[in-house]
Amino acid sequence: MTIPVLTVNNLTVAYRVGQQELAVVREVSLAVHEGEILGIVGESGSGKSTLGLAILQALPSTGRICAGQVFLDGVELTGLSGSARRALWANSLRLVPQNPLAALNPTMRIGEQLIEAIGGDRTTATAQAINVLKRVHIPDPARVMRSYPHELSGGMQQRVMIAMALHGTPRLLVLDEPTTSLDVTTEAAVIDLLAELIAEKQPATIFISHNLGLVARLATRTAVMYAGELVEVAPTAPLFDRPRHPYTQGLLQSLPRPGLRYDHHPLHPINGTIPAPGALPAGCVFAPRCSLADERCRRERPSLIAITEHHLTRCHYWQQVTQGVPLPSVAASSMSSNGNGQVLLTTHHLTKTIARRQSLFDKLRGQPAPVVKALAGVDLTVHRNRILGVVGESGSGKTTLARCLIGLSEPSSGTIKLLDIPLAPSIQRRSREELRRLQMVLQNPQEALNPALTVGEALLRPLIRLGRMNRREARQRIPELLRLVKLPPDYIDRRPAQLSGGEKQRVAIARALATMPDLLLLDEAVSALDVSVQAAVLNLLAEVKERTGVSYLFITHDLAVVSYLADEVVVMYRGQIVESGPVQAVLAPPLHPYTEALLTATSSRGVRLREVEEPDSLSESGCPFYRRCPRTPGDICATTPPPWRDAGNGHRIRCYIPLEELQIIQRSVLIEL
């Protein structure tokens, strides 16, 4: 056994909050060898990012290592002085942060920053910089060198960061949620790149992520963190196959996996919430949320036990942790109930163009303002008591679509009909009844509730305003609403600051459901939530739909969630629907090449999109996907919009490539995965 590059010994890190110090990382020990990728997973508040920063000796000023040591190649880092630490940062320690734009200097050209990072003689450094940019598959390094950070796309920025992190021979690489701010297709490419470069440069790598799928793909070993402690460490495959800690198991069971359906398979969320750093339970930190916990767990803190040579877990009853949830057979799923749902809402050729800001000079020259087509003719049908998933990356127009439907934005043209009656484009013109029928839950639960109002007040208002109740009647309805979203009745007097993210989203859902809308628009309503919370909200949505008969328009970038929750799916790309149909049909071959890329993004052998800086600048007339299409499109794609093709069963695809051809290539790809 070689000596590990990184050894962390009993590390405890605390933040100073007001007068007290709160330990957010406690007694963490781990080792990472050369070329090894240690994944660290955990929900928000688990202390994983702090651990990363502590290892890099880059804690914020309020943070402090209280105990333990960090060794890099046998050198202790904790006591290093300023200059030695800077030398270490320059040569051995590297970080790829979550937000590349924040990490790059906005006033310096990329080239300058790279050359500075590489150091040494300028001409050599320049040549090296171009090389590393090539190495991260940037097609035009010279141009990128001349660019300022904001001129690059998010994916490009992250590639530059990776180039900076991986020039020379780093010993330790810390990846802190490196792809969280990126689209799935870009994320896939960046993960591929990281895997490739780590394999080549062989640094010891720590990969911090909340995304279990990504960790499973990239990490050789995985550590699960909970409330500042490592609760389970094991090689990745065994960990995911046979978790030996109830928390790991809970995380895995929270994930909506292929083949699971909302109407047959409720997810298994972890009850409760992660304890605050100041309020840790006496025994096992996970005990309050654990179904296996007994007196002993609440009393006695378990230590990290080695159950095999490489598999450690912090649980008294690890043997009772059952095997992973058995996958139900695919055949078990069927078309959803109530397939005969009547049409609730339709749109006809909905468009929305947004004028960009124009310089005064251009205005004076009489240039027309440049416009962006956020929606380019969307036809949509939502049925009663059905869930329509809308899938697409950022910029695909799915949020604009929802905002047009609800009336927060006015479409440029096209019509929206609710129960066959045209809806006014502006929310001000809609009747209270129309407003009542259509409600929306927004993406960010942190902003969904007014911090100044209590939960009760937040729920009261729609009942009074849209439900035409008086205050007393409305007040009586509130406990019922809280029950509907599974919140205790005493939450009525709480303020948003006293709620967790998941609880806030539940209140937001309760508020939207208060007046029994016919259609609830959910715009990325679960994507900001941790997996365990997300599972609970998904269950909740399924249950509420069953009980109230409400329809959902569910907007997400996460295909796993869509396949779990939606009855029908539309896939959007740059303001257009490129594929639509029942969910089982749409997520099985034949697929639109874009859907294919989305679907396989989570796999290392998936189809990757071509990266273009401004995908919309050309091909106004042809297929919007033409320039990024991985399936070598023909010339016609560039000039004429592709037709709709019917794949049967209500499944339609907008592509020139014959459906049979798509089916053949894609079946082989999907089988390989």
């Binding site: 009336g407 929310i427 969904a448 911090p451 208002r461 305003r465 600051a497 007046t515």
Partner: protein
């Protein structure tokens, strides 16, 4: 923020408590002035000119034989009323304009805030002199000056808060249930603007005290024989060698009150920030 917490914020630490105590002291002087003041603030005594501080005249008398202590006390009433009233009016109008115009947005916002920018481009004192030159020096003129000078500042502060709140989900949720403009402005936005406003009002108040005193000193504010502190400094300026106390008394009063308000405002600002970040 609960009321008790809010009150406690004024005594959070020694500096803040000192500031609050000073302000309360002056408020007391202003409120109960007639009960405390030994003489009328304008009563002259040709036989008691420029008396140094003594038991009969605690702070001495000025060149016309007026009791300085009484003048300081009545002056506190004057300056607190003018600076306080002006600040309240400015905060009200600034909030009204800031919240509604910013929420409505569009050309109206553009127009209003361009005008405010123009006003802000002028130094406050210059603007004050211009205004008072037009309306003539008087109490109401000073009040108007404070309102005109501080409304744009308050409106801009409010605007920045409203701009950050406007795209928030809860505002959109309110629109989605068809809430009227008034409800969104006053029930959803105002409570969130309030902490910022409290801080801003306290800050404006301390500047307003200074502005009132400055205008008095320049002779364009409150007119004699009002016991305006700034005016008293102006009048005592030439007599410094003869009766230094007649200069010290109003100067110290101004300094003490401004320091008090500033200490208090700083404490409140810190308390509210802590409350928000909590």
């Amino acid at each position: 923020m609960k009321l008790s917490r809010f009150v406690r914020a004024f005594f959070a630490d020694l500096a803040t408590a000192t500031g609050t105590t000073i302000v309360i002291l002056f408020l007391g002087l202003a409120l109960f002035g007639p009960l405390i003041a030994p003489y009328s603030p304008t009563r002259q005594n040709a036989d008691a000119i420029r008396l140094p501080p003594s038991t009969t005249h605690v702070l001495g008398t000025d060149r016309l034989g007026r009791d300085l202590f009484s003048r300081i006390i009545y002056g506190a009433r004057d300056i607190l009323l003018l600076a306080g009233g002006g600040t309240i009016l400015a905060v009200l109008s600034g909030t009204l304009i800031g919240v509604s115009v910013t929420y409505l947005g569009g050309w109206l916002e553009e127009l209003v805030f361009r005008i405010f920018d123009g006003l802000l481009a002028l130094p406050a004192l210059l603007l004050a002199l211009l205004l008072l030159g037009t309306v003539g020096p008087s109490r109401s003129g000073v009040l108007l000056v404070i309102v005109v000078v501080y409304t744009p500042i308050v409106a801009r502060v409010v605007r920045s808060v409203v701009l950050s709140l406007k795209p928030r989900g809860f505002i959109e949720a309110a629109r989605m249930r068809g809430e009227r403009l008034g409800y969104i402005l006053w029930r959803e936005l105002l409570p969130l603007v309030a902490p910022t406003l409290a801080v801003e009002a306290a800050l404006r108040f301390s500047y307003a005290i200074f502005l009132v005193a400055s205008l008095g000193f320049l002779g364009v504010g409150v007119q004699p024989p009002s016991p305006d502190w700034g005016l008293m400094v102006l009048e005592a300026r030439n007599e410094f060698a003869l009766a230094p106390w007649s200069l010290y008394a109003p100067a110290a009063a101004i300094a003490l009150l401004v320091i008090g308000v500033n200490l208090m405002a700083e404490g409140v600002r810190r308390a509210i920030r802590e409350d928000v970040t909590r």
